[in-house]
């Protein structure tokens, strides 16, 4: 389970699911802490050492969260109690992570035969996720990206995994032994193919409810081809900018969302003039597109898709240069 997944799961158990200022402070600090752990792992430190060194360098999560809350609340005394609760939550997070590292180490030390047997047993309880992708005339669409997010809650913990594949020449796709047959689970699927409007589905089933995982059918509408022109904050063409379609809201209000976690296979790069032709949305869609200038982070931008052949300009917010 990833750190963020864990914190989301924890939040789901101890507080309302809506992201609050409290939870945001926790998540912000946890991101920093996790980055330090990653830094240590990248240096080759074992998990335990990476964790302990990050803890030593970072110091007190609870105290920092408390100080941030005091700033945000302007030191309002009645709200201070909430920050104490936040501290308790963070203490639980730290304790859980410590046990998580330990259990990971124990699992790694387990006998290979035991692991193989356990893996086989687990696999046998998983169903294939399979289906076909066709156009509006029923004709199969080969070579379409199929991006899957699988959400499960093993042992009351939240887990989110991503998978990717492509349709074959007959428009078929299959992810073998993927979806657990039991327990609460959710499957998000995004089908992306240039020339067709990106289409996504989401299916959540609780314990005991059946989920259709085979014989799925995606019918993709033809898309409107437009040119996306990416510029930097100074208005200059952003050559070789990264471009990533991340979602669309149709004219009748339907949302189609691509999870960033699963979107790596559909990243694209604009040409030297910062332009790229995209045919993944329909005219009138409210499209969400991530763009990334060289050396920068991804930024999400919303645009309305114009008529076929028209151009949409996106100005990345990253600055051009220091102004001193």
């Amino acid at each position: 389970m990833s750190w963020i997944n864990f914190t989301r799961a924890l939040r789901g158990r101890v507080s309302p699911p809506a992201a609050s200022g409290e939870a945001n402070i926790d998540e912000e600090l946890l991101f920093h802490f996790r980055s330090l752990v990653d830094e240590n792992l990248a240096k080759g430190l074992p998990a335990d050492a990476a964790w302990h060194d990050a803890q030593r360098r970072f110091g007190s999560l609870g105290r920092y969260a408390d100080e941030c809350r005091q700033v945000v609340m302007g030191g309002f005394p009645m709200l201070h109690k909430i920050s104490v609760a936040g501290f308790v939550v963070l203490a639980l997070v730290v304790a859980w992570l410590f046990s998580e590292v330990r259990s990971l180490r124990q699992a790694a030390a387990a006998a290979p035969a035991e692991k193989t047997a356990a893996a086989k047993a687990a696999k046998s309880q998983k169903a294939d996720l399979a289906g076909i992708v066709v156009d509006s005339a029923g004709k199969p669409i080969p070579d379409a990206h199929v991006l899957v997010i699988l959400k499960t809650w093993p042992g009351n913990r939240y887990r989110q995994e991503d998978f990717a594949g492509k349709t074959d020449e007959k428009g078929r796709f299959r992810f073998a032994e993927l979806v657990p047959a039991k327990g609460q689970r959710a499957v998000h699927m995004a089908v992306v193919k240039d020339g067709y409007a990106l289409t996504t589905t989401y299916d959540l089933k609780k314990q005991g409810e059946a989920m259709q995982t085979d014989g799925l059918k995606f019918t993709l509408d033809a898309a409107t081809k437009v040119t996306i022109a990416v510029r930097d904050a100074a208005g200059r063409p952003a050559g070789k900018a990264g471009v990533l379609p991340s979602g669309r809201q149709t004219a009748d209000g339907q949302d189609h969302v691509v999870y960033f976690q699963a979107a790596k296979p559909i990243e694209m790069v604009a040409d030297g003039d910062g332009r790229i032709q995209l045919a993944m949305f329909k005219r009138g869609d409210q499209a969400k597109i991530y763009v990334r200038l060289a050396g920068r982070d991804w930024e999400e931008h919303g645009v309305t898709i114009p008529d076929q052949g028209d151009m949409v300009e996106i100005t990345a917010d990253a600055p051009n240069a220091a102004t001193e």
Binding site: S2, W3, I4, N24, I25, E27, E28, L29, F31, H32, R34, S35, L36, D38, F58, G59, S60, R63, Y64, E67, C68, Q70, V71, V72, G74, F260, Q261, Y290, R296, D297, W298, E299, E300, D317, A318, P319, A322, T323, E324
Partner: protein, 116 residues
Amino acid sequence: MGEAGAKRNLLQGSLDLLILRTLLAGPHHGYAVAKHLHQVSEAFLEVEEGSLYPALHRLERRGWVESHWGPSESNRRAKFYRLTAQGRKQLQAETTAWRRMNQAVECVLNYRPAEA
């Protein structure tokens, strides 16, 4: 005062300025701000997280920076801070004040009494 103490005191007086200057180059999350300051100062500036995050929140409260959540370079959700127009003005004012102060201190340090 040892070197560690000198570093700490330097930051306490200038952390807001350093953060604002870092964000002039674009949106950063807190971890990236700390890394940037460490690298650009050739490892002299060690920003304590206990100072950094309250400072970021204080700057946001004053309207000098604004924040949004987005995917980080490691694909995790992170909180990014970006300079506002008001923050740019504040940065200019603080940069000017800092340089004047620096010049003044240099004048004092370089002062040599006229020989009789």
